[in-house]
Symmetry: C2
Subunit: 267 residues, 2 copies
């Protein structure tokens, strides 16, 4: 026999009702004060239940308004094998074709005008972690580029990206150092091509952790809900790490997909 806390029992009960469709997306849940009046516990207890449901992404709460069942945003499937190959082929196209559509459009299926790109650049000295990833000395100058994309006028980011290049390499084309040139038609692989680099292999690392309060706000996900973290390392045909990006993605809206082709048994 397990002792289930009262707040959790209430949360489970409401969650079940949401899944069964007793409360449907967009519906309002009983007000917290109503639950208290109905004898479901003290306000703190009911609050705990409601905030658990919020973390799970089942409901959204708005101060002064109430709590309602969340319309689950569709998961955006990221097929990186296709995506990276597509990005690479595109780097060879002429500038007008490249300008028509970028990776973000490719990922989201949105039109070019529906996406706003925000970029901020600065230079940093490689710390232990970054130096290790690039295989350079600690203190080496790196170009640090922070990006986020949104639909025009919206403060909600689709992802938060921190991308790094070795500064001396990027500086071979001064245009790459200018954040005002973003979004760059053709993306990073085209940018690297302008300094004579071709990408051979991209290594993806995927982890998860809870969102910080700031990330929750910026990505418009419930507080204390998880994010996915993608660490992407691009390796040139010379075998050198030429770009590293750290991408934070909303956990409830993201799915990665990889396809592993196996060698045939020959007998």
């Amino acid at each position: 026999m397990q002792k289930v806390p009262k707040w959790q029992a209430l949360a489970d009960d409401l969650a079940a009702k949401i899944r069964e469709g007793v409360y449907r997306p967009g519906d309002s849940l009983p007000l917290i004060r109503e639950q208290v009046a109905a004898g479901m516990g003290s306000k703190t207890t009911v609050q705990a239940a409601y905030s658990a449901l919020e973390s799970e992404g089942l409901v959204t709460t708005t101060r002064g308004h109430g709590t309602s069942v969340r319309r689950r945003p569709p998961r955006l499937v990221r097929r990186h094998q296709d995506r990276y190959a597509w990005e690479k082929r595109r780097a060879l196209l002429d500038s007008t074709t490249r300008r028509e559509s970028g990776v973000v459009e490719h990922d989201t299926g949105l039109a070019h005008e529906e996406i706003e790109c925000h970029a901020a650049f600065n230079t940093v000295q490689a710390d232990d972690d970054l130096a290790g990833r690039f295989g350079v000395d600690v203190g080496t100058l790196l170009l640090h580029r922070h990006y986020w994309h949104s639909t025009p006028g919206s403060p909600t980011a689709m992802s938060l990206i921190d991308s790094y290049l070795v500064h001396a390499v990027a500086a071979r084309n001064p245009a790459l150092l200018d954040s005002k040139r973003e979004p760059w038609p053709g993306g990073t692989q085209h940018q690297l091509r302008t300094v004579g680099i071709e990408i051979d292999v991209i290594e993806d690392g995927i982890r998860t952790r809870l969102a910080t309060p700031e990330e929750s706000r910026h990505l418009a996900i419930p507080s204390a809900s998880p994010v996915l973290i993608l660490d992407k390392t691009s390796i040139s045909t010379e075998g050198e790490v030429v770009e590293y990006s750290h991408v934070i993605l909303p956990g409830d809206r993201t799915e990665f997909r990889y396809s592993v082709q196996l060698e045939r048994w020959t007998q």
Copy 2:
């Protein structure tokens, strides 16, 4: 200017001290009642801060004992491209070689005797989701196999696995229906080989969500911390989906790694 709740300010403060090494792994944090006495807020407030730190995986709390800084478990890196290929080659080996080491040993680096395998089988009828994945009719009989692995005697699972096969296919070798034959030397790919199936492609889908309280207990992760979910679909050389598994992995101990090889530009 942002209004930061008192509990969050306290949590941030303690988190910073942990990262700076003021409190080191294994150290005890000030007792909740001490913080209250020190005027850091009421018990509920301090409690909220401490439980936030627990969800983030920074501390562990034990009732009756106290709160101490968590020794971060090392992340287990899962390189599925290697893993699946290794598993496939192994299915061709003789039984004594296969018996020596399995995928779990391969993943964890543990010795054969250090791993205990728990298996429970039953049959289920395909619901909408499963039928869609296998491309069979709803109601089709499936063999459902639930697995979890642990170090001997420990109640802590390394992962929670639900694996499905079309029952009619598995039944071609009656030994496959018997959970007492698990762990099967050579794994699923060898099992499928005994019924004449060779795997061609494996599709991985990766998502995240918060752990349920039960998962938190079983995987020994903090409550309200995230898990990673792997949906693995195996496709035979005939192009049919022959196995589907749903794997729940501890978010703080798992990292996926994929390597994407790109085609060269030819000019």
